[in-house]
Symmetry: C2
């Protein structure tokens, strides 16, 4: 360690030395290397920072000598000298970590000024005001950063000065007043820091370097690293660079530019320039910068040179660059370059165009776009330029922005919706009974529920904006109002919601429809070519299925059948079925449902023609189809009070009794899924028959339906064995009765730990496994999403008890381990097993990466997440190479 080089001149480094020089230092070195006009400087390595901490915050011996050698080089290059009265060298001292930590650590500008050199600077620039302004800024920064003084103490003196002069802006303060202010600043330093302001520039420099090292361990940097999972032992480098000034007259200036449009990705320079100004002035917003193109008129040579720099940098980095530059007396300096931040649309366009320009490979293009980001391309969003009045924030349940009148019930929503009015349905929670009001609403807002509550699931399914669990709003359904703090909103008032962020906004907001250019499609085609994972969709209706195909889904991984039971014309029949006291009565009701279900399946199978459709048999507990017991009891009481018809009362009482008998302490852990199918086999038989009759019909019409019957919530192989046999019996019967042969598969959802643990036994009866990771996460953790998200989960995430929300990002250590085990056991017992995932995680890029690594065949997610998943699947392949085993062909 002692012999290692501690200080690198910019010309000695390269981009790939980022770990040693930090991101900024390595980039400055790289730009120097490729011959760009970078103000000379040197970098003190990150290793020195670690040494500093290892030595209990003392400077390693020998460092000062190396820094002096670096300084000597700067002096030679610039012809200036640190501390020189005649030609003073001023430097900036900046942190530069390996990973960008913007604003987390400290910076000092204009270092080298003292009572002597300030005079030299005044003379050299012919601008006394400028020189003293630099000096007072330096004292202020140095006092704050190095001497740990309060920023406000300096600001107070500045304000005082302005007041004395009757000045409104700083630039109205005269040179003399600034000189005076410098004296006051120095007195403040003496008073608060207890020392004279250091006049020796070398002492200033060593103190500044130490302060930058110290800032690596300041509170906000520690927190930032924890949040962003940056290791503490990377350390920061320190960059010491010659100051250049853009505020030295009209042939000086400063600017920022993007080599392509960060908004649209269009290939043209996009930037701003401010004549006779410094970077700080741009930030302060006192003057309005002009478009970069005007520089071509003001300083054509500089402009020409700048365009060359842009081209060089983009070609060199093979990415759109965000460049900072300064012009000092007609000379261009490049101060920084980095990959430019961009919108999703721009990211897609730039990536695709750069492939066409031969700059990057398709793989690189695919890796350049953040999958989560492209979700925003599929929904309208709030115009980023609009001023909005955010009143509350809930959980971002389904992306997209929507505005409309507040309505508090589904019937009213339907009524208004039918009149073509825009409404937002606001409810404590929604239930399947509210479907008719959800369909016409622009968006849904609930005060309760988590990311998988009814409203959230239905909304995502429909691609409709939704904010749930917004506990800040207090709804009073009686007075048809809600409050946020003291603000009152009544039915008919306009509100807006932003389902991507969870924001609730007063009034209407302008939204923008995203433009899906052809590049988007191209990128996703490339993704499919690369990817090993099939992407299917969760879709319950022909409309959803069509949407899923449009977004490129190659099948339906989860078609829920319970929503089909909820439709208004069917619910009474379903209730009749539940109220049946004999198997015969139950069958009679089921016979009525059969043709309706058959119609549903025909529509969906047709929309997915040629692709597999995984139909999950009835999953929810039966009590979900009966009215709420409290509401029903109230209704009965009311009927009795007003002497209603005794027959109706008796019926309702019977229903109440049944509903009470079906009530459960923990519905999540109750009689759901195949437990309903085992106890009432006739329900599953009806559904299987409806599927197979739909298939027969389509086959007769010349289609090629590919049904897959999925038995939910299997915990023991025997459950699947019994129910598979029932499905097969039904298929045989339908084939015999119709004389039509067809293919089908039978499989199960793995959503309780037991079926995962005994996957070998289960796989003997399954053609496919679909991991229901929502439920699996709940049972593996032993907490329900609805209860956790409303209560302790937020605390757990804030306190970092859990690294991530396991309902959003698959918990690899726990749930993932179980899935891996299950995949291995399942394939051992049944090598042909097709395996996928159909929880919320099927649309999450990190989780998709896991699915690839674990050798799954496909993921299934909501239609609107399909493009995200396609891209994420490609990235996983690029990142990790081939899957563990070849994917079974699924299309």
């Amino acid at each position: 360690m002692v012999s290692a080089k501690r200080v690198y001149l910019f010309r000695e480094g390269r981009a790939e030395m980022k770990n040693l020089l930090g991101g900024k230092g390595a980039n400055l070195a790289e730009m120097t290397y490729i011959g760009l006009p970078v103000p000379p400087g040197f970098t003190i390595t990150t290793a020195v920072c670690n040494e500093y901490y290892e030595n209990e915050r003392s400077m390693p011996p020998g460092l000062e000598e190396e820094i002096e050698a670096g300084l000597a080089d700067l002096e030679q290059q610039t012809g200036k000298a640190l501390g020189s009265r005649e030609n003073p060298l001023l430097v900036s001292v900046r942190s530069g970590a390996v990973f960008s930590m913007p604003g987390m650590m400290d910076t000092i500008l204009n270092l080298g000024l003292n009572d002597e050199t300030v005079l030299g600077l005044a003379e050299a620039t012919g601008d006394q005001r400028f020189a003293y302004d630099c000096y007072r800024r330096f004292i202020q920064m140095f006092g704050n950063v190095v001497l740990k003084m309060e920023h406000d103490d300096f600001e107070d003196l500045l304000t005082e000065t302005r007041k004395e002069l009757g000045a409104k802006y700083d630039h109205e303060i005269s040179a003399e007043a600034l000189e005076n202010l410098v004296e006051r600043y120095k007195a403040l330093v003496r008073d608060k820091a207890g020392i004279d302001f250091p006049q020796d520039p070398k002492e200033q420099l060593m103190l500044a370097v130490r302060a930058v090292f110290d800032s690596w361990h300041n509170q906000r940097a520690i927190v930032y690293r924890r949040i962003n999972k940056i290791p503490d032992d990377l350390g920061t480098a320190v960059n010491v660079q010659t100051m250049v000034f853009g505020n030295m007259g009209d042939n000086s200036g400063t600017g920022v530019l993007f080599t392509r449009s960060p908004a649209t990705g269009e290939k043209s320079i996009y930037g701003e320039y401010l004549t006779n100004a410094q970077g700080e002035d741009v930030v302060a917003g006192i003057r309005t910068p002009q478009p970069i193109q005007l520089l071509a008129e003001e300083l054509p040579e500089v402009y020409h040179q700048l365009m060359g720099v842009c081209e060089t940098l983009e070609k060199h980095y093979r990415d759109m660059q965000d460049i900072e530059f300064t012009v000092e007396k007609g000379k261009l300096y490049v101060l920084q370059t980095r990959a430019g931040k961009r919108t999703a649309a721009a990211a897609v366009r730039i990536a695709v165009e750069m492939v066409k320009e031969g700059l990057i490979s398709r793989e690189t293009a695919l890796m350049r776009v953040e999958p989560d980001q492209i979700a925003t391309l599929l929904h309208p969003c709030i115009d980023p330029k609009a001023e909005i009045d955010v009143v509350a924030t809930g959980l971002p349940a389904s992306p997209g922005a929507a505005s409309g009148k507040i309505v508090f019930d589904a019937d009213l929503a339907e009524e208004h919706g039918n009149r073509g009015e825009k409404v937002i349905l606001v409810r404590p929670q929604t239930t399947p009974d509210d479907i008719h009001g959800i369909v016409p609403a622009q968006g849904i807002l609930t005060s309760r529920g988590g990311m998988t509550c009814h409203a959230a699931i239905v909304a995502r399914q429909m691609g409709k904006p939704c904010v749930v669990g917004c506990e800040e709003i207090r709804i009073d359904l009686k007075s048809r109002r809600f409050w946020v703090g003291d603000r009152e909103f009544k039915e008919g008032d306009f509100i807006s919601i932003d389902g991507a962020t969870g924001r609730v906004i007063a009034g209407e907001v302008p939204t923008v429809e995203p433009e899906l250019g052809g590049e988007f499609g191209t990128l996703l085609e490339w993704a499919d070519e690369v990817s090993d994972l099939g992407v299917e969709a969760n879709a319950d209706t022909p409309q959803d299925a069509a949407k899923a195909r449009e977004f490129g889904a190659v099948g339906i991984g989860l078609c829920r059948t319970e929503h089909m039971f909820m439709e208004q014309d069917r619910l009474p029949v379903v209730q009749q079925m539940i109220m049946a006291t004999t198997t015969e009565e139950r069958r009679a009701a089921l016979d009525q449902l059969l043709p309706m279900q058959q119609g549903d399946f025909e529509g969906i199978l047709k929309a997915m023609e040629g692709y597999p459709v995984t139909i999950r048999l009835l999953d929810p507990p039966l009590h979900e189809f009966l009215p709420d017991t409290n509401a029903l009891a109230a209704e009965i009481a009311e009927l009795k009070a007003k002497g209603g018809p005794s027959e109706e009362i008796a019926d309702k009482e019977k229903m109440l009794e049944k509903a009470r008998a079906l009530e459960e302490f923990n519905p999540m852990l109750g009689q759901r899924g195949c437990r309903v199918g085992i106890v009432y086999p006739e329900i599953y038989e009806m559904q299987a028959e409806a599927i197979f009759r739909a298939v027969v019909r389509l086959v007769q019409d010349g289609y090629s339906p590919r049904p897959e019957v999925m038995i939910p919530l299997v915990g023991h192989a025997r459950e699947l064995e019994i129910l598979r046999e029932k499905v097969e019996e039904t298929a045989r019967r339908v084939q015999e009765e119709t004389g039509v042969e067809f293919e089908y598969e039978v499989g199960t959802m793995i959503e309780v730990p037991r079926s995962a643990l005994t996957a070998d036994e289960v796989a003997r009866h399954a053609d496919f496994f679909s991991f229901g990771t929502n439920d699996l996460t709940q049972t593996v953790f032993g907490f329900s999403r609805d209860d956790a998200e409303g209560k302790f989960l937020r605390h757990y995430l804030e306190q970092k008890v859990l690294p991530e929300n396991p309902f959003a990002v698959l918990d690899e250590d726990g749930v993932g381990k179980l899935i891996e085990m299950s995949v291995e056991l399942g394939r051992q017992a049944n090598p042909d097993l097709k395996i996928g995932i159909c929880g919320e995680h099927g649309g999450d890029p990190e989780s998709i990466d896991f699915c690839h690594r674990t050798g799954l065949d496909y993921v299934s997610c909501s239609p609107y997440r399909v493009p995200v998943a396609r891209l994420a699947a490609a990235q996983a392949k690029i990142r990790h190479g081939e899957k563990k085993r070849d994917a079974k062909t699924i299309s």
Copy 2:
């Protein structure tokens, strides 16, 4: 197969040929071998039965010849001949499976009789009535068993005959009338079976053999085998044995005896004898048998010989025998011997005494007693001689019998109890609020709830009889009555419950207090010497702890702290703590609870002096400590209606709001266990402080407390890490403040799959693991016990979807697999980890066997199951040898 011997004479077989000869045949052979007077006979092997079924129910060729050879031997030995008019040989034909299936298959007696031989029998015995009675019985049995005729059709004719004669009993029917009845029977056979009754004795025999084979697959045998897990392919043997008759005068008779008392185990012959009678007569109960000892006077030589037989058989089989014998004209025949069924008390006494007599080893003695059976030794039970009126049956939640007056609420139970009256508390369900009524009650009966509902857990804990989930009873709390069908029971009526069987009985029943002889203690001492598993107890109070020590527990594996929060003087303080809006308010309430908890812990640690006490920090969700929201809402409405004090109303409204905010959709999966401790760390800090202050106090008084702090419901290692640090901080603080050093351990319950899956990570922060198998079973299966047992679980068990109730017997394939994995991972990361189990399964012998095989260190169960567990642990060791790893010393 063709060449294998199909028929074994009794003298050719031995006891160890049970698989081939069946249990009965092998025993008859064994008795023949050791020279006992067994009527000669032969056995057709079980292999023939399987051959019969393999050949689609046709007799294997050659079998008949082998049977004839066997018959020839019988004829030679007895000097009689089948079908002989002069000296007819009569035989019995009986099934004999490998495992006893009492009453499941068919038997035919007196085979060989026909119109000719009946005359010979009459002459040989000089008793025409006897001969025709034998014949008519034979026709009846043969008709029923072989010809599948209705038993009742024969009985009708018998009744008719009696009527004609004006006779009341069969023995009043004359010989002539019986001869006539035989003719009527034969006519019935012709009429109903369409054949003449077979006169050829060999044909009779072959048909009878076939009928026995057929009975292997009759419905009740199939069901019996399924229930008792007997494989279908074992087959049954057929025993053909010379008939002997005890009804041939006063020097004839029949009897049954046990070589030791089956009730108490006392070493003296216990049996009954009936002069001049056959076995059937004993069963028919027409005459009262006399004690066996009287035989010494009637037939001293026979008695002497019989005593010799008893001694021989007991020594030979080294177990108490149940022997059937017949005396025919002064000659003793032994017809059957088998290990005698016995009560738990007798089993224990016999096992221990036989070790002392040198008959068996200690290991054999330990294996002779069924662990589950000895549970009955610890509770009073219904006098087995009493006549009882069972009105309903619920779930057997806590063993023991109790009688008392019905009371429908806890307050009344307390009131009556305080007056010294016996009461049974009858509730739809109990809640922690009812504790004060449960304590004084003799027993608890609920109409709802499963085996782990509140009532069940509390009752088992207290060793109090309890029946839960008795859905047949409909309780109406308003009219203070319950109904079973049409029967009405009102408050104050006497009922009894039997917690071992779930029976609910009208009126009072006499109970017997079990006598725990010294042999019981001896057996358990032997068990402890053999066993590798420590047995600890689940106990929450000093009383329970003392009881646990009495039963031999070597520690407390689970001390729940929530019951301590429920006591009437504490609940208001706990509610104050929950209602607190600031941490300070919460701390103030906790400060009040601290000394109370400290007192609890002092008592328990003192009662377990020198043994570890595992104290689980608060586990239930906070809303369990608040009143039910519906009840509270009703109370508020009432208060408002009658204009109650506004302050009280406001307080209750505040509480209602809080209770509603804390309500959960799935409380089982909600904010419980360490999730409370993480969000409100001050609660766990208070509990830790109370524990450590109790420890300090005891150390100062000269005791050696061994506290183990258990953090419940950990799912992620980080939860344990955070909370362990808090506990350690508290310990350090208490040690510093008091200057007293003490030892303690910190561990966790493994009760959600995630902690089991990541046991290596969790183990890094744990001194011990305790598998909470109740919750673990719920989360692994994804069903809650309360919901499953009331609904589909019964169906699942009846339909054999699940082989066992996983809440009673640990599910080895699923839950067990996870536990094994977890033990392995945990020990890899922390070799010193102490591992146990503290769910209901800790007291279940099969599950204890699993714990031994999996290498656990201890099991913990309710105090009343401790002796059961000690015995089961010893049996596991005897069965499987050493555990996977040495048990860590836990006492």
